[in-house]
């Protein structure tokens, strides 16, 4: 096969400009859709699995049937937990205190809806084991006195956007206990939220010491609620199923506890991802078939109009396979140009979505671009096959005789 065969195919691809344009546009639109949906699916999938992967062995226990803010666990909770059969599999634990009441932030600025709006009192040593927020200070320093807090950089960013200059290191935040009484907390530092937004589902956005949390809670909660609210436990486990079996053991303990797996977002998120996956597969398949049909029809029409050209090509010694290759090549050019246009449209669409949503969670990856180009090539080969055979198999003398 020579270079000229390829350039010959290129010259012939665009001889029917309007038909070529329409079928390429059709493929482009289908592929653009496919790109947006696949990108979204891939990004979400990756976000979720990245977040989950580091937490596959993590569980959190709270008082049975209570949300974390209302959960009260006994002081000796870690001793109780250490009575389970698989206690050797516990790597470390962090008993924590949840403080509710940062609701003023909800009205003040628009936080992503999935963010937990409560603060956590966390022991520094334990947090280090879990590589939690205090290990990721990017500005200022860790709290060391009571009534000092650190916040997620995300909160800082949003605050800066809405009330420039209001929230900074050293700022005093009035923490509303009730309608008339508030307590002043000093901001000592900010910590980096994990790069991906999914982590916000499991991370607090305000963190303080155990003592601070306990003294704040004692101001407005009955005494029974001033102990630990939750215990994070990291098991020596590589799969969510194994973690699940340890979780079952925890459920047998007294007092009865609610056990949540932190490395598993539960059915809804997984279902959502599955729906996305199915949706993107359906869209890809449909746009693939539609694209292939567009090329097939255009090429069959083209081949029919060009029978005499193939006759003269064969008469002058072109081999069947060269003619076949030439038609398939033309179809591949359609497929690939359609894909390129689809990538262009798709990127534009992703960009527009980012602008509209104000946040980029969809990423167009190189792998996806290559995949799409491969997809275009596949469409071209498949749809070029039939017209290629038709052109290659003509009998020159029959074609010429019928004229």
């Amino acid at each position: 096969m020579s270079l000229q065969t390829i350039s010959f195919a290129l010259k012939n691809t665009f001889r029917k400009k309007s038909i070529a344009f329409i079928s390429i546009l059709g493929i482009g639109i289908g592929i653009a859709l496919m790109i947006v949906i696949s990108s979204a699916t891939i990004s979400m999938d990756k976000m979720m699995t990245d977040t989950l992967a580091s937490r596959v062995g993590d569980v959190e226990v709270t008082e049975y049937g209570k949300p974390p803010v209302l959960s009260a666990l006994p002081e000796n909770i870690t001793t109780i937990i250490n009575t389970i059969e698989s206690k050797d599999q516990i790597k470390f634990m962090s008993p924590e205190i949840v403080v509710n009441g940062f609701t003023q932030f909800t009205s003040a600025f628009e936080l992503p809806s999935m963010v937990n709006l409560y603060a956590r009192g966390i022991d520094l040593k334990n947090d280090e084991l879990f590589e939690g927020p205090t290990t990721r200070i990017i500005d200022g320093e860790i709290y060391n006195d009571t009534l000092e807090i650190i916040v997620a950089d995300l909160v800082m960013d949003i605050a800066e956007k809405e009330y420039p200059g209001w929230l900074k290191i050293g700022s005093v935040i009035p923490f509303q206990i009730n309608a008339t009484y508030s307590i002043n907390l000093t901001l000592t530092g900010t910590y980096e939220t994990e790069e991906n937004p999914a982590a916000l589902l499991v991370e607090p956005i305000f963190v303080m010491s155990i003592e601070s949390a306990r003294s704040i809670n004692s101001l407005f909660l009955p005494e029974s609620f001033t102990g630990f609210s939750a215990v994070k436990i990291r098991f020596n486990s590589e799969t969510i199923n194994k973690t699940q079996t340890y979780a079952e053991e925890l459920k047998e303990l007294t007092p009865k506890m609610t056990v949540s797996l932190l490395g598993y977002f539960g059915g809804t998120v997984e279902d959502l991802l599955l729906i996305f996956d199915v949706f993107s597969t359906v869209i890809s398949t449909v746009s693939g078939i539609a694209g292939a049909m567009a090329i097939l029809v255009a090429q069959l029409m083209g081949v029919n109009e060009r029978l005499k050209e193939f006759a003269i090509m064969k008469a002058t010694g072109w081999k069947n396979r060269t003619i076949f290759f030439e038609i398939v090549l033309e179809s591949v050019v359609f497929g690939i140009i359609g894909s390129l246009i689809g990538i262009l449209f798709g990127s534009g669409l992703i960009y527009t979505l980012e602008l509209a949503l104000g946040q980029s969670f969809i990423k167009l990856t190189w792998q996806l671009i290559l995949l799409v180009l491969g997809f275009g090539l596949g469409i071209g080969v498949i749809s070029g096959f039939l017209p290629g055979l038709k052109a290659a198999r003509i009998k020159p003398m029959e074609v010429l005789r019928s004229s």
Partner: protein, 245 residues
Amino acid sequence: MADYIYHDQEIDSDKSNDYIIKVSGLSKLYNEGLPSMVKALDQVSFGIKKGKMITIFGPSGSGKSSLLNILGCMDSATSGSVFLEDIRITELSERELADIRKHMIGFVFQEFLLIPTLTAIENVLLPVIPGGIKKEDRERAMNLLTQVGLKERVKHKPKELSGGEKQRVAIARALINNPKIIYADEPTGNLDTKTGDEIMQLLRNLNQELGVTIVIVSHDPSVWDKTDYLLKLKDGQIDPHKITS
């Protein structure tokens, strides 16, 4: 008036290699075994001498195109044999026939059959495309276009050329691989008399300058006088009766 070709014992026993084509007992049946069977060629035997120009003529349906297709390696015979030089083409595979067409045969058709997306020179180079066009090919195509009088039309697309010019391009294309023999089925059929005469003159010049054998099928009596020999077909057989003119 040109001589008629008859079957001649001399052809079969030709030892001096004077003949480029030797046909013996050639028959062609279409739709064999069906009620619609047609006997297009019936035991045809003749020879064509190297470097000559011959015209095949005869009434419509007499088997002219059928004969040309078999001689041109585009169709298979039902029985009989055809030699092109010392190659027995009647027993070659389709792939081998394609190779013979490429290297030994050139075709010219009534309808020119140029590729509309290619320029004149690219059309001349069409047979060379699959193997890759080399510098020599380009030079050769240029020379051929000059030889057929289209030096100034090299870059023109077919739609920018007149009928006669298109046929000249087609003739140059038939010559690009330096064939031994050219088959031309009604080469002047789509041209007016004057242009047709010019094309015949061109073929004659090429025949003399390049020594290429040329076989023409034509209804047109004005073509007949311009070739060395005539072969008249009637009902699939060579007609022994000379026309009176």
